[in-house]
C-alpha cells in the first residue's frame, strides 16, 4: 500500500483544487493575439472556421469559433459565463430583448455606436436597416439601457410560408400562383390533400414560438400594429373581438382538416424533415430552412410566399430581422480586435461567402445578386418586417407561454378561441399586477 505523508496529501488536494478551479479562469483576459467567439450555429461552424483561417492569414490574428449546441445549453453557458465574468471576446445572445438589456446594464456588452458611426456611419450604412434595428436601443427605452447599437447582425431571417411547387403541379394548381388569402390557403391545401393524399400543412407548432409568430402576423394584419402594441401595453384586452378572431383562424385551420397529424406536438426539425420529403404542401418556417431543405432534399422544388392575408384593412407585417447577431465583450482585452473582425465578417466578400456556404440571407445590402433564387422572394418582404426586438415593449414571457399553449389547445380541439382568450387575459392581468 502506498503511504502518503500529510503534506503529500495536502499537495495532492491543492493540485486537485487547482485543477477544479482552473476551469473558472477568465477566458477573455488572455494577451494572446487571438479572438474567441462563442456561438450555437451548428450549420455554420465549418464556414466560420474557413473564414477564421482566412482572417488569420490576412491579419495574423487567430480567431477561434467555439460551438455550443443545442441553443438552450448555449444560452445557459453564456449566462453562467457572464456571472463568472468569463465571457469570450465575442458572443451571441439567444433570447428576448430584455435579456440583452440585462447583459448591457451589467456591463458585459460593448456599445458599438462609435464604431458603427465612425467615418460618417460607413459601417452602419452597410446593413439592412431591419437587421440592425434589433440590436438598437433607442433613447428612453423601457429597459433603462443607454441608447445605442449593441450588436452586429451577421445575417437576416424572415419567417414566411413555403409551398411545394411540385405538389402544386401534381394537384393541378398553378405553381407560380401561391395563395394570397387564408381562404385560398385552406382551399389549396384541401385540394392537394384530396387529390394526392398529402398533408396540407406542417409546422413545428409543438415548440410554440412558431405559433406565436404566425398569430402575431395575423393579429397585425387584422387589427393593425398600433392596436397590437396597445395590447402588449395593457390597453386592449386579449378577449377583444379582434383577438378572438385571430385565435379563431387557428380553429379554422383545424376544422378544415389540412393540418398534419400531431402538429401540436411537432418539433420544427420534424416539420422540416416532413416538408423536405414532399409529405406536406405548405409549411411556415424561417429562411434558415433553405439550408436545411438543401441538406435533406437537394431536389426539392419549393418557394416562399408572404402571409395569406386575413384582412385588407391593414398591411401585412412579416416576422423577421436579424437572425443572428454577435456582441463584443466590453471586458475583453481584445475588444478592438474583436470589433475589427466583426467589421471584416460583415464586409461584402465574407457575407457572399456565407450566402454560398450557409444559404442565409445576408445582414448587409447589395448581395441580392448572389442569393439563391428561392431566397430572393424573401428579400421582397424586407420593407415590411417586424420583430419583438424592435417593438417599444415586449409581451411578458409568461403571457407568451399561455398564448402558445392556448393556440396548441385550439388546434387540438380542446379549447374554443374565446376560452383561450380568457385564459390569456387572466394571465396578462396577473402578471401586470406583479
Amino acid at each position: 500500500m502506498i503511504k502518503l505523508s500529510f503534506s503529500g496529501k495536502g499537495m495532492f488536494f491543492a493540485a486537485f483544487l487547482a485543477a477544479v478551479l482552473s476551469g473558472c479562469a477568465p477566458s477573455s483576459k488572455t494577451k494572446e493575439n487571438k479572438i474567441v467567439i462563442w456561438h450555437w450555429m451548428v450549420d455554420r461552424q465549418s464556414a466560420f472556421t474557413e473564414l477564421a483561417k482566412e482572417y488569420e492569414s490576412q491579419t495574423g490574428t487567430k480567431v477561434e469559433f467555439k460551438l455550443f449546441f443545442p441553443p438552450d445549453i448555449y444560452s445557459q453557458k453564456v449566462i453562467a459565463a457572464a456571472r463568472a465574468n468569463t465571457l469570450p471576446d465575442i458572443f451571441g445572445i439567444l433570447g428576448e430583448k430584455k435579456m440583452s438589456a440585462s447583459f448591457i446594464k451589467s456591463g458585459h456588452i460593448l456599445n458599438m455606436t462609435p464604431y458603427m458611426e465612425a467615418k460618417g456611419g460607413k459601417w452602419k450604412n452597410r446593413f439592412n436597416p431591419q437587421a440592425l434595428k434589433v440590436n438598437v436601443f433607442s433613447d428612453n427605452n423601457p429597459y433603462g439601457v443607454p441608447g445605442g447599437i449593441y450588436g452586429v447582425p451577421i445575417d437576416t431571417t424572415v419567417l414566411n410560408f413555403v409551398y411545394n411547387r411540385e405538389l402544386f403541379k401534381k394537384a393541378g394548381l398553378d405553381p407560380d400562383n401561391p395563395p394570397r388569402t387564408l381562404d385560398e390557403f385552406i382551399s389549396d391545401a384541401g385540394i392537394v390533400k384530396d387529390k394526392l393524399g398529402v398533408d396540407g400543412f406542417v409546422c413545428g407548432w409543438g415548440e410554440g414560438w412558431l405559433l406565436n409568430a404566425l398569430a402575431t402576423e395575423w393579429a397585425i394584419n387584422l387589427m393593425g400594429e398600433d392596436k397590437f402594441l396597445k395590447t402588449i401595453k395593457g390597453g386592449v384586452s386579449y378577449t377583444d373581438k379582434d383577438w378572438v378572431k385571430v385565435f379563431s383562424f387557428f380553429s379554422r385551420l383545424k376544422d378544415s382538416g389540412i393540418l398534419a397529424s400531431g402538429i401540436a406536438t411537432m418539433t420544427n426539425k420534424e416539420a422540416e424533415d416532413a416538408f423536405s420529403k414532399n409529405k406536406a404542401v405548405f409549411s411556415f418556417n424561417g429562411t434558415w430552412a433553405v439550408n436545411v431543405y438543401a441538406q435533406l432534399n437537394p431536389g426539392l422544388d419549393y418557394a416562399f410566399f408572404p402571409l395569406p392575408k386575413v384582412s385588407d384593412k391593414f398591411p401585412v407585417k412579416i416576422w423577421g430581422g436579424a437572425g443572428s447577431s454577435f456582441m463584443v465583450n466590453s471586458g475583453s482585452s481584445q475588444k478592438d480586435k474583436a470589433v475589427a473582425f466583426l467589421k471584416w465578417l460583415t464586409a461584402e466578400k465574407q457575407q457572399i461567402f456565407l450566402i454560398d456556404k450557409t444559404r442565409n440571407l445576408p445582414a448587409i445590402k447589395g448581395c441580392s445578386g448572389h442569393l439563391p433564387g428561392v431566397l430572393k422572394a424573401a428579400t421582397e418582404t424586407f420593407g415590411s418586417l417586424t420583430h419583438p426586438d424592435v417593438w417599444p415593449q415586449n409581451e411578458d414571457s409568461q403571457v407568451i407561454e399561455v398564448i402558445n399553449r392556448g393556440l396548441q389547445q385550439i388546434i387540438m380541439g380542446i379549447k374554443k378561441p374565446a376560452e383561450a382568450a380568457e385564459d390569456i387575459q387572466k394571465t396578462k392581468e396577473r402578471v401586470s399586477r406583479k
Binding site: R83, M99, S102, G206, T265, R405, I411, M412, K426, T427
Partner: protein, 294 residues
C-alpha cells in the same frame, strides 16, 4: 491531533465536492426564491412575491394536476402491474433471470430515447410511423385508431407511457421484498389449510407493507418530478402534459430564476410532506394489523 487531521483530510475532497455542488446550490435556491433575479443583473429582494405568484398561478397548479394525474396512474396501474409480475416471477422458477432482465431493460433506457421512440409509435405520418394504429388495424380494432398525441387523450397516453417505462423499478423492489419473506411461513400456513389467497392476504401483503410504502413514496417522488420523457414525447401538448419540472425549466430558460426557485421549493415541500404522510399511514397500518415495523 495529527491523526485526526490526517483522517479528516481523507474526507475533504468529498466534502468540498458535496458542499460546492449540493449544499451551496440547496441554500442558494432559498436565497433565489426571495429575489427577482434574471441571473445577469443585480438581484432584487422581493420578499414573498415569488411564492405569492406560485400559489396564485393557474399554470402552476395545472401542472401539479397533470403531475398528480400521471402519479395516480403510476401508483395504481404501474405498481399493480409491477407487483403482479413480481409475484409471477417469484413463483416461476424457470427463466426467472430472463424475466428479471427483460422487465428491467426499460428503466435502464434513457428517458429521451423512450419518449422519442414512443412518439414514432404513436404519431402518424409525416412525423411518426403510426405503429400503434397499424397494430390496431391488423387485429381488427381499427375503429380505435386515432391521433393519440393530438387530442385530449394525450395526458392519459403520457401516463401510460410513463408507467410502461417505470414499472421495472417497482418490479425489482417488489421482487426483492417477496424473496425476503421466509418460505417456512407459507409452508406452515399451507399445513394449516391456507389457500393461495389467504397466503397472499395474511402473509405476503402484511410482510410486504414496508416495501409497498417504499415503492409508493418512490413512485410519488419519481413521477411528480418526471420531465425528460414527457418533454421528448409531447413537449407539453398545449399544457395538458406540462408537469411541474417543465414549468420550472421553462422559467429558468426565460431567466425568471427567482420564480423557478420558489416553484422548486414549493414542489419540494409538497413532496416531503406527502412522503412523511405515506410513512405515517404505513406505520399505522402495520401497527393496526400487528406487523412489526420494517
Amino acid at each position: 491531533m495529527k491523526d485526526k487531521a490526517v483522517n479528516f483530510s481523507f474526507i475533504v475532497p468529498a466534502l468540498v465536492i458535496f458542499t460546492l455542488f449540493w449544499i451551496y446550490p440547496f441554500f442558494y435556491t432559498f436565497i433565489l426564491a426571495f429575489q427577482e433575479n434574471d441571473l445577469i443583473s443585480a438581484p432584487k429582494f422581493i420578499g414573498l412575491s415569488n411564492f405569492r405568484l406560485v400559489f396564485t398561478s393557474g399554470d402552476w397548479w395545472s401542472s401539479m394536476y397533470n403531475g398528480g394525474f400521471i402519479t395516480l396512474w403510476a401508483l395504481t396501474f404501474q405498481n399493480i402491474l409491477a407487483l403482479t409480475l413480481a409475484l409471477a416471477v417469484d413463483r416461476v422458477i424457470r427463466l426467472r433471470k430472463f424475466y428479471k432482465v427483460v422487465f428491467f431493460i426499460l428503466p435502464v433506457l434513457s428517458e429521451i430515447i423512450i419518449g422519442l421512440l414512443m412518439k414514432q409509435f404513436l404519431v402518424s405520418e409525416p412525423v411518426g410511423r403510426d405503429v400503434f394504429n397499424h397494430l390496431l388495424n391488423s387485429v381488427g380494432l381499427g375503429f380505435l385508431a386515432h391521433d393519440w398525441l393530438g387530442t385530449a387523450h394525450v395526458r392519459m397516453i403520457t401516463a401510460i407511457v410513463h408507467c410502461w417505462k417505470g414499472f421495472g423499478w417497482a418490479f425489482i423492489i417488489f421482487l426483492a421484498g417477496l424473496q425476503s419473506i421466509p418460505e417456512q411461513l407459507y409452508e406452515a400456513a399451507r399445513i394449516d389449510g391456507a389457500g393461495a389467497w389467504h397466503c397472499f392476504t395474511k402473509i405476503t401483503m402484511p410482510l410486504l407493507m414496508p416495501v409497498v410504502t417504499l415503492v409508493v413514496v418512490l413512485t410519488i417522488l419519481g413521477t411528480m418530478q418526471a420531465f425528460a420523457m414527457i418533454l421528448a414525447l409531447t413537449g407539453g401538448a398545449g399544457g395538458l402534459t406540462t408537469v411541474p419540472v417543465m414549468v420550472i425549466y421553462d422559467h429558468l430558460r426565460h431567466n425568471i430564476a427567482g420564480l423557478a426557485a420558489a416553484e422548486g421549493l414549493v414542489l419540494g415541500v409538497i413532496l416531503v410532506a406527502v412522503s412523511f404522510t405515506m410513512f405515517f399511514i404505513s406505520k399505522k397500518i402495520r401497527e393496526k394489523y400487528g406487523v412489526l415495523p420494517g
